[in-house]
Every structure is written in C-alpha cells, then in structure tokens.
C-alpha cells in the first residue's frame, strides 16, 4: 500500500469506504517516517503507532505536531538543549481538541529553536532537509512539520506562525500553510516565543485538509484569554476580489516574480477580479516593529529557563551570575541574540524609545492594512521573495535573512488570517503565494485559496 500524495480527506473517504483501515494508514506513515527521517530530520521524536481509536471524525489518524506544542507525557523540546528532556504534564488545547475528534499523535517535528528562525537550520537537533532537494533548507520555523507533510511522512501537521513560521516552510516545500487569525486557535500549551504575534497553524496537502483541521481546533478557550470565536460557516464567493500589492511582488527575485505574475494571469482568466495597489506605505517599518515586539516578549518568556527547573544539570560552583550564565549557555546563538535584544529593548530609558513605539507602529500598520483591504476579499502577494537556499548559505548573506521575513510578518502584526499555497514551479522548487484577509475572516481566505488552488493546479502529480 502506498499513500504518497494522498490528502487527509482522501484517506478519510477511503476509510469510510472500507478500502483503508486506520491501522494501515498509521502504519504507512510511521514506517515511511522512520525510514526518511534519517535523511530529512523532520521529526525530533517519532512515537510508536498507537492502538488506533477509530471513533471520531479523524478515525484515529495520527498527526504530526510541532515540538513547541505541549503534548502530555511526550517530550516537547522546542528544538532546544534547554528542554531536551522536558515532558509536559498536560496537552495543549489544540492537541486535546484533535484527540477529541479522534486524532492521535504521530510524532513531534523539528523546528528552529523556540521558533526563532526562518530556515529550519537553528535546531539543537540539526537542520531539517528539504524533501524537494536535500541540500536545501525547508524554511522555518515549522520546518519539520512542512518536510513531514511534503515527504508523505504525515497526512497533516500542526505548526505555529509568529512571523511566517507556517507559511515560509509551506512555500519552500510546496504545500499549503495556513496561519489563522490571532486568537482563532487557543495558544494554551504553545510554548511562547512572542505571545501577541503568534498562533497555531496547519500544514497540509490541500486547502480543504487544512480547513477541516482548522474547524476542529478553532474556538474560544477559557484557558487562553486572548482567544476568540471566529465565524466557521463556509463562505460562498462567486468572483473573488483580489488586491495585489505591487511593491511586495517587486521585492522578489526575478524567477519568483515571473511565476507569481503568471499565476495572476491564470486567476484573472478564471474569473478572479484582480486589482493593484502600488505599495503598502509602511513596508519599511514592518520588520522593525515585528522584531522589537517579538524580542521583547521573547526575553521575558524565556527568562524561566534558568537551569533550576529545566535543562541539563548545571554545576553550582561560583556565584549566582556564574551559575546563570552557565545555565543559559544551553540556548543556541539565535535565541541568545534575541533574548539580549529584547532585554535591551525593555531596559528603562529604551522602553519608550523602542517598545512603546513599536506597539504604536503596529496599531498604525493595522489601521493602514484595514484601509487598503476594504472592498476586497483578500490581498495576494508572494509568500517568500526568494527560492530555498542551500543549507548554511544564509549565514554568509544577511540579505537572505531579511528577505526571509519581509513578506510574511504583515499578517502577524495585523492579526490577519493568511494562507500560502504553491502557485508556480521553478526547477524542483515551488513558488508560494499567500492570500491575506481581514482579522477573523478566516473562512473567506480559505475559500479564496481553495478556488485559486483549483484554478492553478500546480501540483498535478498529487492525487485528490
């Protein structure tokens, strides 16, 4: 039995029809994962197949979970030495929702440490490799979830998106990555990096797959005071009204630009109404606001990792400062850098100069976005302005690091839903395009993306 290219919906249909059993399905993904993980490094922890529980919508199907989402009794490392042996005593709300729907756990996926990174290389467990070309990065930070879905090592996966962490790797591996509205999915149990920006997202093989899972994990949770109930009714759109922000496209490399514009042509001939805005006036401030807020929040979130409750045993010789610096040495370089930046930003005297202004900027960016999107169903721009790069290359070229985030952070600053899907192909890689909507209008962007997916048919090899 070979389930390569199967969507989750197809699997569920085949189980319904009696052509597949949940045990067979879980067995297939488990065996394939154990096999491919040696080269792709998509999983940090791969579990033994559970005795499946066929009740519920998911019929016992095992799902991959990013390793920053708490799973009861299963170690949750955040791809960090600091949490190498941390076993949460509780399930994240999203995980218990999936279990309630009959889902089970396939394994915990690799990622950039504490979700800080856009390439999947900053992991204490080694970089995740791109199934499309193993010498190349997957994008991050939900690198393992993307690689697992793209390589048929999982039918679908949960990730998290703080500044593009679901959409970037989805784009680089040629799959669907959905970042719901801020608060649409409970963050309870998601190990915090930047609380006010992030949300649990879904990586899958089709828009319908991610939509199906989204409806299972969405909803207000009393454990997360920032969570909300978003409308989950299917939207009916006959002629999607799309706004393309030209300056975002122009930031992209030529091969990305070319594929992206050609996708616009196809959508237009299929009846999409395409409109253009020259630019988003606050583009230059987006990354500054994003990094200021993210680092500030991260620096306090990560202060609990002091070597007392988490992390390898630390020698207690010397004074408290000696001890703390030994304990904090278990963080990787990217995490250390962001903690230091955040600590600086929150220091007295700088707080107003940096942090408060970043919060004000975010407010203005949100207002500006609401203005620009009014009258349209979604904004359409490339997800990543470049194609995947070779593992190790970003270190030499800081421009790549900038490019990695510039197009993805906007929805995190505005709390908008955003979905990335493959819209073009260059050599073995795909070009990802993202639809961004107004906050809490998740079903609308999902509908638009589904219509675009049907028009573009980029991955014809996949069975639907």
């Amino acid at each position: 039995m070979n389930l390569e290219g199967y969507t989750l919906q197809l699997i569920l249909k085949e189980i319904e029809n009696g052509n597949l059993s949940p045990e067979d399905v879980n067995e297939f993904y488990h065996r394939r994962s154990a096999d491919l993980n040696r080269v792709l490094n998509a999983y940090i922890t791969l579990l033994d197949p559970e005795k499946s529980r066929p009740e519920g919508d998911l019929k016992g199907i095992a799902i991959a979970i990013k390793d920053n989402i708490s799973t009861k009794g299963v170690r949750t490392t955040c791809a960090s030495k600091m949490l190498e042996n941390y076993i949460p005593p509780y399930d994240a709300t999203a995980v218990s929702s999936l279990k309630k729907h009959g889902g089970s756990l396939l394994g915990k996926t690799n990622m950039d440490e504490f979700a800080m990174g856009s390439s999947g290389e900053n992991s204490a467990f080694g970089p995740t490799r791109n199934p499309l070309n193993r010498e190349y990065v997957t994008g991050g930070s939900s690198s393992g979830s993307a690689a697992a879905v793209a390589a048929d090592m999982a039918p679908i996966a949960l990730g998290s998106d703080t500044g593009g962490s679901v959409r970037a790797p989805a784009s680089f591996t040629g799959i669907i990555g959905f970042k719901p509205s801020y608060g649409a999915v409970s963050r309870y149990g998601l190990i915090a990096y930047a609380n006010s920006l992030e949300v649990i997202g879904i990586l899958g093989k089709s828009v319908q797959d991610v939509s199906l899972l989204f409806k299972m994990i969405a909803g207000k949770d009393p454990m997360d005071s920032t969570s909300v109930n978003v409308e989950l009714m299917e939207k009916n759109i006959s002629k999607p009204r799309i706004l393309v922000i030209k300056s975002f496209v122009e930031l992209s490399a030529d091969e990305v630009k070319k594929e992206f514009y050609s996708s616009i042509g196809k959508l237009e001939s299929a009846g999409f109404e395409i409109n253009y805005a020259d630019k988003f006036s606050l583009t230059d401030y987006m990354l500054s606001a994003y990094y200021t807020i993210a680092c500030a929040e991260a620096s306090t979130n990560l202060s609990r990792y002091d070597g007392i409750r988490y992390g390898p045993k630390v020698e207690s010789a010397g004074n408290w400062r000696d001890y703390i610096s030994r304990a904090r040495s278990f963080f990787g370089p990217e995490v250390k850098a962001r903690i230091m930046m955040g600590t600086f930003i929150l220091s007295a005297g700088y707080y107003e100069t940096y942090y408060l202004r970043a919060l004000q900027l975010r407010k203005i960016i949100k207002q500006e976005f609401e203005k620009i999107i009014s009258g349209y169903d979604a904004v359409y721009v490339p997800t990543m302005p470049v194609l995947p790069w070779r593992i190790g290359n970003a270190i030499e070229d800081p421009k790549i690091a900038y490019a990695a985030d510039v197009l993805t952070v906007l929805p995190n600053l505005t709390g908008s839903p955003a979905i990335s899907l493959p819209v073009g192909k260059v050599r073995e890689f795909f070009v990802g395009g993202q639809f961004i909507g107004l906050k809490d209008e998740d079903m609308k962007v999902l509908k638009v993306a589904e219509m675009a997916e049907n028009v573009l048919q980029v991955k014809k090899s996949g069975r639907n």
């Binding site: 708490s70 609380n195 454990m223 920032t226 005297g349």
Partner: protein, 463 residues
Amino acid sequence: MEEIKVGLEVHVQLVTLRTKLFCSCSSDYRGKPPNVNICPVCTGLPGSMPALNRKAVEEALKVVLMLNAQPYETSYFFRKTYFYPDLPKNFQITQYDKAGGYPLAHDGSLKLSNGKTVRIERIHLEEDPGRIYYEGSRATARYSLIDYNRSGIALIEIVTAPDMSSPEEARDFVERLTTILSDVGINVKDYEGALRVDVNVSYAGGERVEVKNVTGAASVEKAIVYEAFRQKTMYEKGIKVVRETRAWDEKRRITIASRGKEFEAEYRYMPEPDLPPVTVTESLIQKVKDEIGGSQEERYRELISDGINEELAKKISSDKDLFNVYEKIKFYEPSLKQLAANVLANEISYLIKRYSIKNLPEDVSGLAEILQNYKMIPDHESAVAYLKKWMDGERVKVSLKTVSAEDLHDDIMQTISENYDKIKNLEYSKKFEFLMGILIKKFGKENKKVLVEELTKVLNKTK
C-alpha cells in the same frame, strides 16, 4: 523622631478567595504538604497562560472603595522580571503605573487615630510568589526547597505616600487598615503571613531605605524604631545613608542589608500580552458597594441611634459578622434588638473566641427562637448551650412547653424498664437521682418540677 518620613507598601492576600489569581488551584495552602495545590499555570510551565479570576477584582475593589480610592476604568497587567527561585516564570504578573500602564486604583486615603490623613497613592493586584524552605538554617542547608502552593495567590498591594512621621503612626496605619480589611471580610489576623509590609524610611531628608517583608503592625513599629535609630546614628556620625533594601530580622530585632541595590531599570516592566486589560464598569462598582455595606463608623452610629449603649455598640460595630446578625434580628423582630446586642457582645463573642468560630450562620431564625424565649430558659448555662448549638449550624428548638404529667408517665415507665438492671439494687435516693438525670436530659430543665412530681409518684407506686 520628627525628622523621619515613612511610607508603606502593604501586601494583602485576598483570603476571601477560594482559588488563585490566574488559575483554579485552591488558595488554601497553609498547613498543606508542599506542592499539592499547583498546576501548569501557577508553576509557570512552558505554554501555560494566566486567566484572570474576576472574583479577585471584586474583592480588591471592596478594599479600594473602603480606602476612598478611585478605580481606573481600564487597568493593565505587567510583567516584572527578576530572577528568584520562588518565582517560577522569573517574572511576576503585577500592575504598573508607568510605561503606559494603570493600576487598579489611585488616590485613596486612610485616617489615623490622631486625625491625620495618610494618602494612598495606588492599589494594584498581583500574584504571590512561592516559598523557599531551608532545612535547618539558610547557611547550613544543602538545598533550597521550593513550595509553589502559595505561588499565584491573589494579593493587593497598597502603596502609601510617605505621610507618616513616627513608628507609632505606621503601626496605627496597619492596625486601622486591618480593621477596614476585616470590615469587608478579609480577616488577615486569622491567616499567618496574609499581611506583609515593605517599610520605606528616610531620616532628615536623606535617602530612602526599604525594609522588606515585615509581618504585623507591632513589627512594623519595631522595624521603624530600629531603622530610624540606625539612620540617625549614621547621620550624626556624618556617614551618608545609601538607598538600599534591607530585611527585618524578627528574632534579633534589627534590619540587615539584603540583595544589594535594586533599581527599577532591572525589572524590565512590559505589558502582559496574555491578559486583556481589566475593565471596571460603573455597574461593577455599584455591585461591590452594595456588597460591602458601610464602615465601622457607620455601623457604630446606627447602633447608637438604635439606643444600644456605647460599650456594646463599640464591640458589635468592630466585627462585621456580629453587626450583620444584629441587623437581621432587628429586621426579624425589632423588639429583640436590645437583647440581641447584649447576647452578641457577650455570650456570642465569648463563644467565638472560646471555640475559634470563623463564620456565624446565615440563618438567624434559630437565634431569634432563643432570644424570644430567653427569659424562660432556666439558667445561663443552658442559654449558652442553645447559642452554641445555633452557632454550630444545628437546628434549635427551645422546648419550653411544659409537658403534662400524663404525657410523662409512659416515658418514665419506659426509662425505668430500660435501665432496670442498673437501678434494681440501688437505694431509693440513688435510684431517683439516676433516673432524674436521664429524664432531665430528655425533657430539659424547664420540666424539672413536673418530672420530680411524676417520678416520685411512679417510684412510690412501684416500691
């Protein structure tokens, strides 16, 4: 002592709450084994998030209103970051009045016994840290043991202006505050460590020294006496007092340097992104106002105007529970109020102390029954027994109706036959005494007379 200025930061646990500030763990931590009332939230596990206990806001507002402070319509929670092992997240969730934040309330006041008004700058909500234990002493213990049962308990912090100018005034402030807190049910005296004070003392316009973690009004006074003396001595010797944090050593009755210098800068305050702002609406304030009723002064005035004498009025007005019972009885049957005041101030107050009773029953019908029949209860001892019964929440029926002789006959015969083996060899007087004991228990002293008559009759017949 005129040259000293004292300001207080009083931390009060909201002991009326059953659960913690941001999770549903029990707040009842005293005397419990370590780390039993804990969950991912109050131990700060990765991924856990705080969710505000709205009841804590209501309880805190009671204190706010009693101290004449102004609640902000919107206030915010902040993270105050510092490393300390009893703080599981290494930041404390508290409220802050700078950096765009607002505390729960501002600008209150409290009047001291000498008529002076102490300004209250702000009142805010925050979480209590856990506790550290050292086996033996801190110096010799091999480990620091941490108990998180207290972690996340709801606290309010009341920050005064440096308006007190003597140790006695500071002590008076804490005492008055304790009474006000008990007016709204927060009986800090019943809970060890529920009220902790950081004392700020400066001498002759010098730097302010903070003495942390002083428990109780008497210790506040002692700590200030010592600290003022220390600073005065330094001043006279020409040594500059430095701004620092010191700790109060209750045993040695001195303050000692601790932690070194702490500056605001090191706390890196930032808004707590996991908690929405706290909104206090007019209707919430009204609801809280309705719940708290008046102050001790208002209660005292009401008792006096009811014609209760000063001594009784003082006693009853100082305890809100007693006053509530008084009010209920007055409503139930106005003619009982004088007697109720007497009984509340004497017998019931005595029983509360004697048996450490925490709460009086909501239902006062049993008490009303006792008071209505009070004159007919044969002696003081039985009256107290009835009152105790009511306070224990049992049903009280004062059986004052004298039983008729015919009714008793059968009971007496039955009592005799049940105890026949025990009494058959006793001489008459002993036999009589024994049986009376049982019958009095059964029918009450008020029926003693008829019992004696009837038992005599029966025994004489059977002789």
